[in-house]
Amino acid sequence: MSARERDFTAPTVQLLTPDGELRPTPEAEAYLPLVEALDDTMLERFYRDMAISRRIDIAGANLQRQGQLALWVPSHGQEAAQVGSAHAARPQDHLFPSYREHIVGIIRGLDPVNILALLRGATLGGWNPAENGNFHLYTLVLASQTLHATGYAMGLQFDGATATGDPETDAAVLVYYGDGASSQGDASEALVFAASYQTPQVFFIQNNQWAISVPVSRQSRSPLSLRGGGFGMPGVRIDGNDVLVSYAVTRQSLEEARAGEGPSLIEAETYRMGAHTTADDPTKYRTDDEVEYWARRDPITRYRTWLEGRGASAAFFDDVDTEAADVAADLRRRALDLVAPTREVIFKHVYSEPHPLMTEQSAWLEAYESSFEGGSSA
């Protein structure tokens, strides 16, 4: 008996080479029309959003170093995966992030000061998805949101809010998680439920190569995209630093989902150029050579090269740089203006309906605190 096949590989779908040439890989040819359908405004928007993401990343890291945030979660290097996929969603779609998708929220209409408030310790999130582009809350327990997204997608099905044949109203769900989270049981259970109920849903794995300090090879011996097939749904591996392929493949997958063709999985190969969070020191676990390799594959540089080749003006890039700097400065200013929540917030929304412990304990805390504030100094 011969040895069983132990070679698991998957091609990486890419439209834009690291040098900024539009040269589709064989598997990418089919996606080209989706890119060709984009007008200049949208193509420029991709660049603008990636630039804003990178400037906000710098602002966030600085705020943390200055003691203004408990934590910052960097996204430097992952801009193309996030911006392309976010623009692939339609307004009626629902997006379930992990906790690194700041620009996705911004694209959906979320004021990023909400994210800074969370990382500053002023809120637990707090935004209403319905008022913020159906961008759901960050979820800090790895992969928990994959199940929420799947349940939401089941609800879309039960409501008849999808697969009616009208792409303008049919809704789908896009859920983000990472290579580390892919090892969580919930991530697998979500794939099981999604396949079982044929939910209108796209699983978008940003494989940024590192789960804090542990490389993706510890999470998976084969490309994560192959997990799709194992659960009975298409899986595709894309160059996550190519904003065009990120957009096109996510767009195609979401359109199939909303048309009733079921869920699919995308693995976007990218790289976290910075630390996992500002609490981390990546020099302890990865090499300069590796970082340098990925720096040469930078998503913004390659896209800029391509846009320049198409005739984008120097003035456009200057304007974007100015706008991105302004957005980041404004965000920084507003983060510093955030006021600490008042103590009733501890109790306020723990339950939707009255609860005796909340009533008793908030009254006790109020009386206790006011015993100092209003009490005699004698």
């Binding site: 809120t123 637990l124 999130g125 707090g126 935004w127 209403n128 998805p129 319905a130 759901h136 809350l137 979820t139 327990v141 928990s144 994959t146 199940l147 929420h148 997204a149 799947t150 349940g151 939401y152 997608a153 089941m154 609800g155 879309l156 039960f158 409501d159 049981g185 919930d186 259970e189 979500a190 099981v192 439920f193 079982s196 306020k348 929304h349 723990v350 339950y351 939707s352 309906e353 609860h355 005796p356 412990l357």
Partner: protein, 381 residues
Amino acid sequence: MNARTEEELRVTDATQGSAEGLETQYAASETTATDAASTDTAAVASAAPSTERGVPGVQTLSLAKAITAGLREAMRADDKVLLMGEDIGPLGGVFRVTEGLQAEFGDKRVLDTPLAESGIVGTAIGLAMRGYRPVIEIQFDGFIFPAFDQITTQLARVTVRHNGSASMPIVIRVPYGGHIGSIEHHQESPEAYFAHTPGLRVVSPSNPHDAYWMIQEAIASNDPVLFFEPKSRYWPKGPVDQAHAGLPLHASRIVREGTDVTVVGHGAMVATLLQAADIAAEEGRSLEVVDLRSLSPIDYGPLLDSVHRTGRLIVAQEAYGNVSIGSEVAATVAERAFYSLEAPVLRVSSFDTPFPPAALESEYLPSPDRVLEAVDRALAY
């Protein structure tokens, strides 16, 4: 209408706060199925259209079937209510609590899910975000733990994390407790883990009437409710008055009045306490029995009233005693009724060991005699 039926009606009419009525109700719940069939023909006949909505009447139902009836009512009243669980469709669940519901409501409202508890709770959260009111069946108590993360880190916090803009009307039904002679992980009492978690509500009915109403109240709640069903009490029948709602979901209740010692418990333990009270009465001791019904929040009013009168309290539970519901009740009563207490609050629990092989369960689980041993100790002060 025969005498028995009249008695049942009297009992259920007097449900609000009537200890005598409830005691009779419990007595009725001990009736064998054969007895019920022979004596309740008229009652059943008079309530014959009781499967139709809005027809008042008293039915004699097991606790399991009372929950079935409550689920049916809730599903008829609100088409956003849907059931999720393992083997709950054509089979009707391993305890047949959902029997007939998929046939009536279809497989879009009674979902036989993949066998993954975290997946069930996690997707239920997403469905609730979409406006549904999922009612989950966990097949057995010991199988809830794969979902513990979703319940405690996610479900319990959705509302506060959304600053109140999202509510989580999810009910998680959990058949729990011993006395059924089953294998490992099938006889657990894990309620304290959930009562310890802010954001959850935890209740446990002890009789069919409460079960019928409490399941509907739990489904109507906009907060997540862990609904612990005492599976050793699934089969004894008792009257269910479908015309007169019981107490609010989180109210506790004095189910038998007494003067010497208060004994409190929940779920299946209430039947044990009533048996203990019967034995004590023969010995000239009068026990007051309190059914907690709700474990989070706990309604201390009736319990403190009782302790003010009796001065002695025994807290009984099937769960492990260490860091338990009983610990919390004992501590709170000591804080709030210190000057009324004639003796320390004593706890009667299972032992702080894994649930043993079922052959040993009668020595492991608190019995009426173990309750009475504690009563003796309390009275010795």
